[in-house]
Each structure stands twice: as structure tokens, then as C-alpha cells.
Symmetry: C2
Subunit: 250 residues, 2 copies
């Protein structure tokens, strides 16, 4: 049915989560201990080259492809981005693309996951930093952090426009992300309204709808080139959440 082949291939890793992970191979801090550099290598993957281990080189390749995808997917669109273009942008050759990703969809999936991990971490950090305050005041900086992140055009384009309609696997990623935000909203809601009157189904639909409200207004904000100041977006969506909470008992 689909014109893309999915033959058996050397098995790339493909499902990495974030990009911020520190290199935990030979992670013994210092840099100067090079004399006994021939540990037990040759059995653990490739050898060193240009001063970096095989894992370090591959990680750098991966990061360069992610950066290239961030630029090209956002500026030219995912559909119009080819492996060749990605390699040109990354300054690498196709062999290393295939070493790191099965195809451009896999790169898009990894990029989406990394971007969303970053933003989610920022939001949670802000949310938890205001731990002392009432939930009412903790959610406002979190919302502001989200819209601040959305001011990055490439983030907005990739994570809210380009990921949709690509394929069922990426649809699943998107769906799962929306659910994560929805669960965060549910946590906040239950703190504010301990007597939570909704069943599981209604809870999920309600929180997901609110996530959709935030998403849609953010998307419209992006598509209208960020007319309207950010604080209006934040306050409007906060009012929507307050209203939803107030209407819980109704």
C-alpha cells in the first residue's frame, strides 16, 4: 500500500528520548587521562577517530541531523525535505544518516520527542519552582513558559503543524504528548477541586479539550505572526481553565 519500503536494516536505535543525556561511556570526569587509552576497546564498537570515540562521533552526527531537520522541516516542510538535503544541511553524508535513523520519519519522530521533552521539562521546572504558592498562581508561570516556547517559530511549525498527517506512528506520538499535558492539567485540577466530580472518561475529554484550546490559540497566534501580546494569550487561556473548573459541578 505505502510506496515506502521498510526492509530489514542494520537496526538503528531510533527511539531515543531526549538529546540532553550526558555521554555515560567512559564518563570518568577528567580529560587528561589519555596514556592508557587502549582499555578494552575493539570489542566495544568502533575505535577512536579525530580524538573522539565512536559513540561520541555518532552522538554528534545524530545531533547535527536533528539540528538540520529542525531547520529544514520547519522552513521547507517535512514533505519537501529529502535525505540529500538533510545531509547537505548537516554537512554529513548519507551513510551517517542511515546509521542514525531509519528514514526521515524516524528523524522527525526523534526531533519531535526531543523538542517536546525540552519544553515539558521547562514547564515542569517553572511549575515546581513556585511550589510554595497556591495552585492558582503556580499554573500561570507554567502557561507563560509554554507560550514563550511557542514564540520559537520552528518549534511551533514542527511540533504543531508538520507532525500531523505524516503517518500513524507519529500520530501516536502526538496523541501521547497531548495526553501528558492533559494529565498535568488533571493534577492541577484535582489540587484545586479535591472533590472531583467527573469520571475517568469525562476527565480525559475535558482536560484534552483544554489542551486543545491552548494548542489552537497558540497555533492561531503563530499563523497570525504573533499579533496580540503573549500575556493576552496567557490570561485568556487561564480564564478558560478557571471557567472549566467553575463549571465542574454544573
Amino acid at each position: 500500500m505505502s510506496p515506502r519500503r521498510r526492509a530489514a536494516r542494520p537496526r538503528t536505535d531510533d527511539t531515543a528520548t531526549a538529546s540532553g543525556g550526558g555521554a555515560d561511556e567512559d564518563g570518568a570526569g577528567g580529560e587528561g587521562l589519555k596514556p592508557t587509552a587502549s582499555r578494552r576497546r575493539k570489542a566495544s564498537g568502533g575505535r577512536r577517530y579525530a580524538g573522539r570515540s565512536a559513540a561520541e562521533r555518532q552522538a554528534e552526527q545524530r545531533q547535527r541531523f536533528l539540528a538540520a531537520g529542525r531547520v529544514l522541516f520547519a522552513d521547507s516542510g517535512f514533505r519537501a525535505t529529502s535525505v540529500r538535503a538533510l545531509c547537505r544541511e548537516a554537512g554529513l553524508i548519507d551513510r551517517y544518516f542511515y546509521r542514525n535513523f531509519a528514514d526521515t520519519q524516524a528523524l522527525l519522530a526523534a526531533l519531535y520527542t526531543a523538542e517536546m521533552d525540552t519544553v515539558e521539562a521547562r514547564i515542569l521546572a517553572v511549575f515546581n519552582a513556585a511550589e510554595a504558592g497556591a495552585p492558582q498562581e503556580r499554573i500561570e508561570p507554567a502557561m507563560d513558559t509554554f507560550f514563550a516556547a511557542f514564540e520559537d517559530r520552528r518549534f511551533a511549525r514542527i511540533c504543531w503543524l508538520e507532525v500531523l498527517g505524516v503517518g500513524p506512528d507519529i500520530d501516536a506520538l502526538y496523541l501521547e504528548r497531548q495526553n501528558r499535558f492533559a494529565r498535568l492539567l488533571e493534577t492541577v485540577g484535582r489540587q484545586l477541586r479535591p472533590e472531583w466530580p467527573l469520571d475517568a472518561q469525562e476527565t480525559q475529554i475535558t482536560t484534552l479539550a483544554l489542551v486543545g484550546a491552548i494548542s489552537q490559540s497558540a497555533l492561531h497566534w503563530y499563523l497570525t505572526d504573533y499579533a496580540a501580546p503573549r500575556r493576552v494569550l496567557v490570561s485568556t487561556n487561564l480564564r478558560l481553565i478557571r471557567g472549566a473548573l467553575a463549571a465542574l459541578e454544573g
Copy 2:
């Protein structure tokens, strides 16, 4: 930049609105008056063939391509749908595709417009049918009509997944549609709250966010294969709107 050429071409119409338009050429009702069939033809486009006028034939071609696009865009995805596949599905040859559409994007745009026109008309009809009732009760069947339409998987897939990320022109179509739904919501809101406290900017963001809430819950409904009964979707979104109205003064 873009690999698709956009050369000058015989100028197709491209921007038709709905598909329901009646053929207004020679529209003199009856069918039996064929004797003097040689009116002033030959100057008004093509001649008759297989019993139908040139305009009739072209309209039927257009409709067949729209139907083919509906099937293939939804089942295989827009990206994986080629002109050849559309022609095979429509039972026509490519010459007639190019007569009717500039490219597959134009077909997608026309299809999206036609589908949304149909659903919008249905919603407005239901809304206006309950003219007697209070706005509170008029909006509920309208919402139910929307979710009923969304139960058509192809409609959901095409109008909420495939249209996104295709290109700036289709993004603009999508944006305009969301705005139309938002304005409808604003109309309802102003009827329910004559003392409308929001300025234009806040009004647009709020109504668009609500449209996004409805869209997102509908999309999630589709992606989870329509678990949850329809009435739960309807009632949950109605509660959200009630809550937003209640929070207006806040």
C-alpha cells in the same frame, strides 16, 4: 526552493466553493426540448458528447476526482497520493485532472472546502431549525451535528489531519475555517451575554480556543477509534462553553 514547479498553465478555475451548485448553463428546466439543439453553441465552449454538455462533463469529472481524493487522501494520506493513483481511482485520465486542478494540492483545497461547506451548512440548518428555543438549547443539537459528522472517518482524517502542514495556502484555508466557527460561537455568546465584556482581541482568542477545544476532543475521539459515546463528547464541550461564559466577567 520548492521542488514542485509552478509554471504557467491553461488556468484552471481552482477556487470553487461547494459542490452542490446547480449547472446554470442552459438551465431552462425541462429536458424534452431537443429538436433545435443547435442553439448558439460552438462559441460557448465545447460541444455535446455522450449526451452531456461540455460543462456537465467537466463537472462530473471534477466530482469524480473529488470522490477519488476523498478516498485516497484519507486512506493512503495526501503525501502518498499521486496524480496517477487519483486518475486510476476516478476512472479518468490525467488530461482531465489537469483540466480541473492545478495539482494535488488544489484538489485537496477544493475537497476541504467542499467538505467543510457541507458540514457547516448542516450545522447552521440544525441551529436555525431550533430558532424558537433559547440559545442554550439551540447550540446543543448544533454541537451534536458536528460530532455526528466527525464520525465519518474520512472527513475527520482529511479535514483535521491531512490538511495541516501541506502548504501555506491550505494553512490559510484552515485558519479561515476556524475563524468562521469562532465567529459562530461569538454570535451565540453575544446572544447569551448581551453585555459582552471582552475586546475584539480577547474575543477572537477566546472563541478560537473554544473551537480548538472542540476540535481537539474530536480529533482525540477519532484517533482513539471513537471510544466514548458521542453524547459524552457533546455534553463535555457544552460544559466547557458554559464555563467560559460564566468566567467572562472574572
